[in-house]
Subunit: 406 residues, 2 copies
C-alpha cells in the first residue's frame, strides 16, 4: 500500500494520485502541509507532491508531529479508488497550477493572511488556503468564477426573503454572473434555481464530497447545477457532510466569488459566517435589509447598521460594488507620468500608500486600503501587479516600496 508504486506509472498520473491521496488523508487543509507543499510561500511553485505524499504514507518521522497525528487514521488510503470513482462519474481534482484552478482563490487567501487572519483568527472555521479541490460538473470552475457573486442566507426564509433572493439572483444571472452558494434549503436553493432558470451558471460549494447530494431532496437541483456549472468541495468523493465542514466550506464560498451578498439572515446564521470570511478577505460584502420586526433579518440589519455590510437595495447595488474589481483602472483614467514608465491614478495611490523601508508599522493591506479608499480586491490586484513590475515588494504582511522607485 505504501511506496511509490501506488502512485501509478506516468509522472502526471503519479502527481494526480499524490494530490488525491493528500485530499483523502487531510481534513480540508493544514498550515503545516501547505508549508511542505509550498516551502517558498503560497505563490511559489510547489515542492514534489509525490514526495510529500510518500512521506505521509510511510510515516516519515521528519514530518511535523501534528501532520503525522492528523493522518494517523487515514494514511493507508489508496488514491486509486478515488481516481477510479472520479473517472467513472466524471469528477476531477484540481490544484494550483491546473488550468481550471481559480486564481481568485489564491488572491482571497493572500488577502486573508495579509489582513492578519491566521490560525488564531476570530473568524470561526479553518482559515488555511485549500490545496486542491474536487469538482464535478460541465462548467469550468476558473471560468465560472470570473464574474461570480456569493449569495447566501437562511435555510428558512420568509416569503419576502425568497422573493428578493429570486429577483436579485435573476438580475445578476441575466447580467452574466455565476451564483456561488452552498447547497442548503432556503436561500441557497432559491438563488441557484433563479440563476439556472435564466440560463446562468451556478456553483454549489459542498461540505461533503462533490458527488454527495445533501440534503437528498436537492439531488435534482445538484444535477442541474452540474449541467450548467459545478459542485465543488475540499472533500473527496463520498465523504458525508459534517458540522465543522460547513463552517470550513464557507470560506470557499466567499473565496471563490468577487463578493458576498447576504439575502436574509437571523442573528445566528452560517450566512453571516460567510460574510465574515468575505470581510476578512477584504471583498465587497453586502446584505439585504428587511423588516426590523422580523427575527429572520436581524443578522442582515446588524451587519448593515454596524457597517460590516453595505446595503443592497437592488441588484444594481451589488453590481456597483463588484464590477469595478478586475477592471483595474476605470476607462479613461489618466496615466500619470512616473519614472520611466507610467502608473494609473489608482496604481499611484496604492504605490504611495506602501511603506518605505524604515516604517516598521505601515504598509499592511488594510493600511493601503484605508489610505486609498479603494476596494480590497483592487488593492490586492494592484499590489501584485506593482510587485511584478518591480515597484513594490512584500515583506511578511507589509508592502514596501522598492528602492529607487520613489
Amino acid at each position: 500500500m505504501s511506496g511509490p508504486e501506488q502512485w501509478g506509472d506516468t509522472v502526471d498520473r503519479r502527481e494526480y494520485l499524490a494530490w488525491g491521496y493528500l485530499r483523502r488523508v487531510i481534513e480540508a487543509s493544514r498550515g503545516d502541509l501547505l508549508e511542505l507543499l509550498w516551502p517558498g510561500g503560497e505563490t511559489s511553485q510547489p515542492a514534489d507532491v509525490v514526495d510529500v505524499a510518500e512521506r505521509i504514507a510511510t510515516r516519515d518521522t521528519g514530518l511535523p508531529d501534528g501532520l503525522l497525528q492528523a493522518t494517523a487514521n487515514r494514511y493507508c488510503a489508496d488514491p486509486r479508488q478515488d481516481a477510479e470513482i472520479a473517472r467513472r462519474r466524471g469528477m476531477r481534482l484540481i490544484f494550483p497550477g491546473c488550468p481550471e484552478w481559480p486564481r481568485r482563490l489564491d488572491d482571497s487567501f493572500f488577502s486573508l493572511h495579509g489582513a492578519g487572519v491566521g490560525s488564531d483568527s476570530t473568524v470561526r472555521g479553518l482559515s488555511t488556503a485549500p490545496f486542491s479541490l474536487w469538482v464535478e460538473g460541465e462548467g469550468r470552475l476558473d471560468r465560472l468564477v470570473q464574474l461570480s457573486v456569493a449569495m447566501v442566507g437562511t435555510r428558512a426564509p420568509s416569503r419576502y426573503g425568497r422573493e428578493v433572493a429570486q429577483q436579485f439572483a435573476t438580475e445578476l444571472g441575466l447580467a452574466g454572473y455565476s451564483v456561488v452558494s452552498g447547497g442548503a434549503l432556503g436561500i441557497d436553493r432559491v438563488c441557484h434555481e433563479a440563476a439556472l432558470d435564466c440560463g446562468a451558471s451556478s456553483i454549489a460549494v459542498l461540505a461533503s464530497g462533490p458527488d454527495v447530494d445533501y440534503p437528498s431532496a436537492h439531488g435534482p437541483l445538484f444535477r442541474r447545477i452540474r449541467q450548467h456549472g459545478c459542485t465543488v468541495s475540499e472533500y473527496p468523493p463520498g465523504v458525508p457532510p459534517a458540522r465543522h465542514r460547513f463552517l470550513t466550506r464557507n470560506r470557499l464560498v466567499a473565496g471563490l466569488a468577487l463578493g458576498t451578498v447576504v439575502l436574509q439572515a437571523p442573528l445566528r446564521s452560517g450566512a453571516l459566517n460567510t460574510a465574515n470570511w468575505s470581510e476578512a478577505m477584504v471583498k465587497p460584502t453586502l446584505a439585504v435589509p428587511g423588516p426590523v420586526t422580523s427575527a429572520g433579518f436581524q443578522g442582515c440589519l446588524k451587519y448593515i447598521r454596524d457597517n460590516r455590510a453595505a446595503m443592497a437595495i437592488c441588484a444594481g447595488d451589488i453590481r456597483e460594488q463588484l464590477e469595478p474589481l478586475g477592471r483595474g483602472a476605470a476607462p479613461g483614467e489618466p496615466e500619470l507620468p512616473f519614472g520611466k514608465t507610467a502608473l494609473t491614478l489608482s496604481e499611484t495611490m496604492v504605490f504611495d500608500a506602501c511603506a518605505i523601508g524604515s516604517e516598521a508599522h505601515a504598509g499592511s493591506v488594510s493600511d493601503v486600503q484605508a489610505a486609498t479608499g479603494l476596494s480590497g480586491n483592487l488593492v490586492m490586484r494592484t499590489l501584485r501587479d506593482l510587485e511584478k513590475r518591480g515597484y513594490v515588494r512584500r515583506e511578511g504582511s507589509r508592502w514596501i516600496k522598492a528602492p529607487g522607485t520613489r
Copy 2:
C-alpha cells in the same frame, strides 16, 4: 397705525409687540432682518427691536430694499391684534433671550452656517434662523427639547411602518424623550400619539399658526399635544398652512431635536427634507429600514445605503446616537494634561483638529468632525466651550487654534 404709540406702554410690552409685529410682517425669516436685529452676529445681544420694527412700519428708505419689498403688503399690521388673540387663547411669542427660548435652536443654525449651508444651499427651504416663535401649550419649549427626538415619515405608512413608529416612539417616550414632529397624518400622528399614550410629551411644529388645526381632523390630537407639550410655529395666530411653509418648517423640526429619525419614507418625502436639515446641522440622522420591495421605504433605504442616515433597528440605536450628546466627556474619561489646565480626550481631539493660523483651507466643522470621528453636536459643543476658554476662535466658518495654545 404706524409710529411708536402702537407698541404699547411699558418697555416690555413695547418689545413684545415689536417682535410680534416682525413675526406678522415677515414670512418665516430673512437674513437681512437678522443682520439688523443682531448686527454683532447671531450670538450677540439684539439691537433695539422696537427701532427695527418702527423703521419697517414707517418704510425707512435706509432699510435693505429686499426687506422693504418683502414687507410692502403687510407693514400696516397691528401687533396688538395678535397679542390680544394670544392672550385670550393662552399663546405666547418667544424670542432669543426669553427663558423659554430653546438654546439648541441657536446651536443648530450655528452648525448649519458653520457647515457652509447658506442662502444658496442645496437643502430645499429657508436656511435662515428663526428670530422668534409662537408657542401654544402647557409644556415649556426649552425644557421639552432637552431630551427630544424628531420622528418623521410618510403620511401614508404601511402597517409595518405604523407598528415600528409606534413601538419606537413608545420606547423613547418611556425613556423620557419628547417627540418632535409635524402635525400630518400617518407617521407624525402615530409618533405623537404613542408618546402621549405613554405619558411623554410631544411638540408639533406647524406650517401654520400654532393655533391652526391642520388637518382639521387632528384638532383633538393637537389639543392633547398642547396639554402635555406644545404646538410651535414661525407663523402668527390664524395663518393658514402653505406648501412652502412645510419645507421651511422642516428645518425647525430638525433644529429643535437632538437628532432625527425617519420612520418610513418613499423617495419623495418631506421626511427626507427634514433628514437633510438634520444632516446639514451635523446632528445624528437615522432611518428605519423596511422591505426593499416596498416603495414606501425607498427613501429610508437609500439614505442608509448612501451613509446619509444611520440604521435604526431598535429604539436603542436611536438612544445610542442621541444620548452621548450634551454629556460631554464620557464618565471616567481621563483628562489629559494640557498647558496650565486640562482638556478631556475629546476636547484634545477637537482642539488638535482645528486649524493653525496659516492653514487657509482647514478647520471647518466638517474637517473637525472628519478628523475626530465625534458626532456633529459634540464637536460644536466642544468648539464653543473651547472658544469660551480661550483655546480656539472662530474665523468665518473656520476654527483656529488661539495663539500660544499649541
